[in-house]
């Protein structure tokens, strides 16, 4: 994991913490990121991104491949330090805010030496939750994704869709305030993808206090799932569109919605 050296002073971070609105889950202030030895030599991937995400808001990040979506997500997760600007998560600097975070990737990243149940327990184990409690929580969320019957199977014995549902259960088991998702369903085939998306939406809609940043290069997926679509390009925010399709949504029919069509045509050309 490469990480650029921290550039913000603690004082600045502290000031940030005090001024942040308590309704905001994530604040991205004037963030620039450049990779390279001193972080400045190369052309910045992000230059002056501003974005505030409210508690309970579902935001999709879209943009061409290589535009810096993953980089922005990594900055929120504290995996990459911005060369300029700052990020706060629930009012704290990212690295101190990890207890609030859930994280999902395109590849499920299940650990192959843990069975389904122990994979769901993994995050809780890292956070020092007692054995009895994490077992109970893990079983609950495995049940929520209809995989109780598969709890003792190794990852290689699960289908792609089942694996991603285990990853969903692992994420929910942590009860995160903020969900960071980097193209979580991109690796699934069409049919599996829709059923996993539907399951994910059900979980999220059942208690809407969780904020989501959902990176995808699939515009249709972004509109179907999110409240808000942020288009990244040229290192900054190019478009910021409110979706406004009522919830709960049924993914079978959402693409027939008028707003869906409008947004699709408005943004399609810029994603390519």
């Amino acid at each position: 994991m490469t990480m650029t050296s921290p550039t913000r002073s603690n004082l600045e971070e502290h000031a940030q913490t005090l001024t942040s609105d308590t309704n905001d889950a994530i604040r991205i202030n004037n963030v620039s990121v450049a990779y390279g030895s001193d972080g400045r030599s190369s052309r910045p991937v992000l230059s002056g991104v501003n974005l505030t995400i409210r508690k309970g808001e579902f935001t999709a990040l879209v943009g061409r491949s290589g535009c810096g979506k993953t980089t922005l997500l990594n900055a929120v997760a504290g995996l990459v330090d911005p060369t300029e600007g700052s990020v706060t998560v629930m009012g704290e600097p990212p690295r101190l805010a990890r207890r609030h975070l859930g994280f999902m990737l395109a590849r499920d990243a299940l650990l192959p030496w843990r069975n389904a149940l122990r994979n769901v327990e993994y995050g809780l184990e890292l956070r020092g939750v007692s054995k009895a409690e994490r077992r109970q929580t893990a079983l609950h969320w495995l049940g929520a994704v209809q995989l109780l019957h598969a709890q003792h199977l190794w990852p290689w014995q699960l289908s792609q869709g089942m694996r991603q549902r285990v990853a969903l259960a692992r994420t929910w088991a942590l009860n995160p305030d903020v969900l960071l998702m980097d193209e979580p369903f991109a690796a699934l085939d069409m049919n599996t993808r829709q059923s996993v998306q539907q399951k994910f939406l059900e979980l999220w809609q059942s208690e809407e206090h969780r904020s989501v940043i959902f990176v995808t290069h699939d515009l249709g997926e972004a509109i179907a799932l999110a409240d808000r679509i942020v288009l990244i390009g040229d290192g900054r925010v190019l478009e910021d569109v409110t979706v406004g399709i009522e919830r709960p949504r049924d993914l079978e029919f959402v693409s027939a919605n008028r707003r869906y069509q409008e947004i699709y045509h408005q943004l399609r050309a810029q994603i390519g």
Binding site: F103, L111, G123, L126, W156, L180
Partner: protein, 256 residues
């Protein structure tokens, strides 16, 4: 037992009997040389006599003690060094030419050195075997750590893993199959190193027995001890294989 396994077993037994028959034939016809020509029967009666006199047992114990000491010591050192090098690519680049040339050296050539330095005793055998085991396990552990998926680390860090947790919960399990494979190979090489050292000079051990009996042309004894060594090697390999299968149950069958 499935039909296939049964056929294989029967073929193996038939092949074994054929080989014994050829050996017997060579002994009867004194081929290729009367000195070498000792029959399976003579070999067997040596083994029985030597076993009942306690000679076989005490020398096997001397050899195996050295084998296990070298394996454990060099195995632990190899795992630690291999994992460390796997995690520190820059240090590894500095050390690589030295490690490569040390590993390329015909290790048996070090035996006289160790014997002069440490004396004609167990330490000398252990030292030689250790130089073999250490490098095998080191490269296994290093390769194992290298096979870590960056996404596992990324996820673990975001979920809150600290450095020691990353080590215990990700890096070590990732490296386990490669470490195990190298420990298994290392055990056989440990036997090779110890017997090699004993052949050159030792007070006890199966290698020393071979040296003694071949200098006195007791070929049935030499054959007997070689057979015993082969059996020991097979048993060690089987035990490691069993352990490996238990420990690596999580791997898909194709990777096992």
């Amino acid at each position: 037992m499935s039909r296939d396994t049964l056929i294989v077993r029967v073929a193996q037994i038939l092949l074994g009997i054929t080989l014994l028959g050829l050996w017997e034939l060579a002994a009867v016809t004194k081929w290729p040389d009367p000195v070498l020509a000792k029959s399976p029967g003579q070999t067997w009666s040596f083994l029985v006599k030597s076993a009942s006199s306690g000679q076989l047992w005490s020398n096997t114990r001397a050899t195996m003690t050295a084998v296990l000491i070298a394996w454990v010591l060099a195995g632990v050192a190899g795992v630690v060094a291999g994992v460390a090098l796997g995690l520190m690519p820059r240090v590894e680049r500095v050390l690589t030419p030295y490690l490569d040339s040390a590993n390329a050296m015909p290790r048996i050539a070090l035996a006289p050195l160790f014997i002069v330095a440490l004396g004609i005793n167990t330490s000398a055998k252990v030292a030689l075997a250790s130089t073999l085991v250490f490098f095998i396990v080191l490269s296994g552990a290093r390769a194992g750590v290298r096979s870590t998926d960056a996404e596992w680390l990324r996820l673990s860090i975001v979920l809150g893993a600290r450095k020691p947790q990353l080590f215990v919960k990700v890096l070590l399990p990732v490296a386990t199959p490669a470490i195990f494979a190298s420990l298994r190979l290392g055990l056989i090489y440990s036997l090779l190193g110890v017997v090699g050292s004993e052949l050159i000079s030792a007070r006890s051990g199966l290698g020393q027995l071979i040296a003694y009996y071949s200098s006195t042309f007791r070929m049935e004894a030499v054959y007997g001890i070689l057979l015993l060594l082969a059996v020991i090697a097979v048993v060690l390999n089987q035990v490691m294989g069993l352990l490996e299968r238990r420990l690596l149950r999580w791997q898909p069958p194709a990777d096992r």
